[in-house]
């Protein structure tokens, strides 16, 4: 609650050696945090030769705060967080700020918080791509007046709400216009794939098998739906969406079981974030050229925003070309031929 | 000896699932007297005691206490009437010490706080009166006591209170020679103070030494309740093992539940329906 933004950086930096703390949110909702973000951030920090400490809160708010306390105690000069929710996020950012530590919101904006910078994909845009993708696949298949089922993310995950806002913004008008029908709408606790399978199976039972398209919030949930569709020999006939461009999701797309996924170039995001973090840790200032409005905190946060990309069978190769996943991971066994068909080399 | 019995049971039936353990049992206990309840293993003595103390609900039958009908549904009801019981399966809390067990449910307090010194003193006095010499400390958990020591604690617990009826289910089974003598003396003393005492024992010497009356159970039926002076040692043993002896006991061995005759000169006992 004391000191202004600009002052805090310089005062903090001349006393301390630059060190960056990063708190990742969990390791189970998505493979990206431990599999991609940690790797790319570490590479960047090592290259810049700054001290760093990357931790994962495992979806536990209390652990999240504990880690933040430890990092501040441990002498970080810049703190980059992916918040678990706005409340703890704000508490951590405020605490850091009050001790003169520079702050960055990574991937998720802490509403009402005090981060100096924000680096992210637009989560609502992700949802929008999913909605548009599903509509496209349904049109491609020529389904008339399709019945849609939602497999939303964890009910306690704010990101899941943002994704839903995104695909709702595309699909809701179609529901209202009676072009599409929403026949089932369930959240999957803790993004748990096993529960997702049961939930989807019951959606199918409830509707007597009349589901023509599945909006699954990520590839894991999508795969759960596909496993049930396979059991009923409906795979490939019912389009399923996804997110994260996981090897499994890409394979499902190549096999024609999944219609699309959303690829977020995490490497880009991590690169942008690490550059900012290194600057902040050294007490420098950076221009981002962009801002994002924080409606709760009533301020414009300097931001770096990256755009997510929809991946269909045609452009799976782009993900591999980007190095996000390797060809070895995707084109194993029976998929080698599919890869070749899709022009992946 | 007063005319109305302190406790009178009439027509008590009790089954556990398909097994009927007590059949139409009548029983009385008089103030100032020791009533010995005898019977073979598994005759139903302990079950009868547990019915009186409210541990087991009865299937049928009446309870009269001081002449008034009462219903006893829990040990708390029994305690409220002034009934204290030493159970055969002692029912001590192994995780508590001797003093804590003796005052369980009726702790002495000063204000909100437990009055440990008073309880410790009272416990020490009561135990000293029961010839306990080998207990190392009153603050020992009862789980570390020997069989006889446990039994002594249970007895001491029951006689600490001002009650009207004390029931002791085989209280001397695990006791040594001296301790047994002390307990029998205590039993007599309680009766002389005007309490009604019910003593269950398999030891005929003890029974004849202290009891005023003897009640015999045979396979869940009360076959006789007579004054001790009116019966001989061997008659009691016959009642226990065969259910009848001369004109006492079941009219015919193996007859129905109504076929009991209490050949007693005592007007208040043997209230057979």
């Amino acid at each position: 609650a004391c000191g202004d933004d600009s002052g805090s950086n310089e005062a903090g930096s001349d006393a301390k050696k630059p060190k960056i703390g990063v708190i990742l949110p969990d390791s189970k909702s998505s493979a990206r945090w431990e599999g991609a973000d940690r790797k790319f951030l570490e590479e960047a920090f090592k290259a810049a030769d700054v001290d760093y400490d990357i931790q994962n809160a495992q979806g536990d708010k209390n652990a999240f705060q504990t880690i933040a306390d430890q990092m501040i105690t441990g002498g970080v000069t810049a703190l980059m967080i992916v918040n678990l929710d706005d409340g703890t996020g704000k508490a951590v950012l405020d605490k850091a700020k009050s001790q003169g530590v520079g702050t960055i919101d990574y991937d998720r904006l802490t509403l009402g918080g005090s981060a100096q910078y924000y680096v992210s994909f637009d989560n609502e845009a992700v949802g929008k791509l999913q909605g548009e993708g599903l509509a496209k696949c349904l049109t491609d298949k020529g389904v008339q007046n399709p019945s849609i089922a939602y497999l939303n993310g964890s009910p306690t995950d704010n990101n899941a709400t943002l994704f839903k806002n995104g695909y709702d913004s595309v699909l809701k008008p179609k529901f209202d216009a009676k072009e599409y029908t929403l026949v089932a709408d369930d959240a999957v606790p803790a993004w748990d794939n096993a529960q997702a399978a049961t939930i989807f199976e019951q959606q199918l039972t409830k509707t007597g098998g009349k589901i023509d398209g599945v909006l699954a919030a990520n590839d894991g949930l999508g795969n759960a739906a596909i496993s049930v569709l396979k059991k009923n020999k409906l795979n490939g006939k019912v389009p399923v969406t996804g997110q994260d461009a996981t090897p499994q999701g890409l394979q499902n797309i190549l096999a024609g079981d999944q219609c699309m996924t959303v690829y977020k170039a995490i490497k880009e995001e991590a690169k942008a974030a690490s550059e900012l973090a290194i600057a902040v840790a050294k007490g420098e200032k950076k221009e981002t050229g962009q801002t994002v409005r924080d409606p709760k905190g009533n301020r414009d946060v300097p931001s770096v925003l990256l755009t997510p990309k929809a991946i269909y069978k045609e452009n799976v190769s782009e993900v591999i070309a980007d190095g996000f996943v390797t060809k070895d991971e995707v084109c194993t066994g029976a998929y080698a031929k599919l890869c070749a068909d899709a022009g992946i080399s | 000896m007063s005319a109305t019995p302190l406790l009178e049971l009439r027509g008590i039936d009790k089954s556990f699932g398909p097994v009927q353990v007590l059949r139409d049992v009548a029983f009385t206990a008089h103030p100032g007297e020791v009533t010995a309840l005898v019977g073979d293993n598994g005759a139903g003595k302990s079950t009868l005691v547990k019915c009186i103390s409210g541990i087991h609900p009865t299937d049928d039958g009446e309870f009269l206490f001081e002449g008034r009908p009462v219903s006893i549904n829990s040990p708390r009801d029994a305690a409220a009437l002034g009934i204290e019981v030493v159970y055969q399966d002692l029912a001590l809390c192994d995780n508590l010490d001797i003093v804590q067990n003796m005052f369980l449910g009726r702790e002495k307090r000063s204000g909100l706080v437990l009055d440990e010194p008073t309880m410790e003193q009272m416990a020490a006095e009561t135990l000293a009166g029961l010839s306990v010499r080998t207990v190392k400390s009153l603050r020992q958990h009862v789980s570390s006591l020997s069989g006889g020591q446990r039994q002594t604690v249970a007895i001491a617990k029951a006689v600490l209170w001002n009650s009207k009826l004390v029931i002791l289910d085989e209280p001397t089974a695990a006791l040594g020679v001296a301790q047994t003598a002390q307990v029998l003396e205590l039993v007599r003393r309680l009766a002389d103070k005007g309490l009604a005492v019910v003593l269950i024992s398999h030891n005929m010497n003890d029974v004849f030494a202290v009891s005023d009356r003897i009640a015999a159970l045979y396979l869940g039926q009360m076959v006789a309740q007579v004054r001790t002076t009116d019966i001989t040692h061997s008659q009691v043993v016959e009642l226990i093992t065969a259910g009848r002896s001369g004109n006492l006991g079941l009219v015919e061995a193996g007859a129905g539940s109504a076929g009991t005759a209490t050949g007693s000169t005592d007007t208040t006992s043997g209230a057979v329906r």
């Binding site: 189970k28 940690r38 096993a194 199976e201 009923n232 | -």
Partner: protein, 419 residues
Amino acid sequence: MTTTAVKKEGPAPVAPAPTVGNHIRDYVSRVRGGDIGALPAVLGLVVLCTVFAVMRPSFLTAGNFANLFTQGAAVTLIAMGLVFVLLLGEIDLSAGFASGVCAAILANVATVLGYPWYVAVLAAIATGVVIGTTLGVLVAKIGIPSFVVTLAGFLAFQGIVLMLMDDGANISIRDQTLVAIANRNLPPVLGWSLAAAAVAGYAAVQLLRYRNRAARGLLTDPITVVAARIGALALILGVAVYILNLERSRNVLFTSLKGVPIVVPIIAILLVLWTFVLQRTSYGRHVYAVGGNSEAARRAGINVDRIRISVFVICSSMAAVGGIVAASRANSVDPNTGGSNVLLYAVGAAVIGGTSLFGGKGRVLDAVLGGAVVAVIDNGMGLMGYSSGVKYVVTGVVLLLAASVDALSRRRSAAAGTR
């Protein structure tokens, strides 16, 4: 002194003669007396199914009936193993993630390393055995409370799954045999033959037992009761197989979908196996003894530590089987496999079925019945379409209702003093 007593050879303990009437009367008063075995759980199940069937007619379809088995299979299998641990009065909090670790091994061996399915299955079960041995030794030999040991396991195995999953990525199961376990069905004929074999086997065992006891002049159940039991089993199996053999494809043009799901015989065989072990072998007897009074068991010369270790081995191995089924059903393994509510549901299944957390009381059948209750609740709730908040609340309330039916019908047990 006591030597003056009358000496008399008492007759051997007797019981009423074995007629049908007596048997029924006996059963009724046993039920009245609270000794009711599986009745409460079955009652709870019937109430649940009725409610769901009334509220959502789709609950009663053949398709949904078949789904029930695959949905509940993993939890039921884990619960079956947990019964052993609970019988000793111990707990295994790590069973859920142990199944996750085993599933991850399966996926790695089958998909990443590309070995055939049986190697992968063996590797998964071997992993379960190793896990169980470790837990058991820590509990029995070092003497750390099982809650703490398995809480540590709960944490560590989570980490191991993550590490095996290469920090969070899913691994697909592509082997068709593995996928079939939870997703394919037996040919209708095979279903019928297995059911017939089961009934015949049961009848043989029952009749042999009858003959054996009768020949020695021991008390037996009346032959009509034995026959009635065999008939009841035949009826239940017949109806179940009949329903499962109905066509349940959404669209017969695409595919035909009928037959008993493959997991059903797997569960049935394990149920028979473990019931046999618990009821008919001295090992099982010792498990009950250690659970009822471990000091008495020790004094009877039973190697209590070995029994204690063995139940953890059984529990973790069954968790491995559960993990394999879960992996098969999901066609993939992810870091959440065996996580979230799997453990609580599995323990809950065993407890709802009538297994005591204090040891000494429980059967493997309990886990299956309790697992059915949990699966029916999950299945029925999935048809209701509540928002997630409401869904949690209703699930909790329904669970409570099922358990109340159970508790109230067990009530007399306490009143009769046979607790």
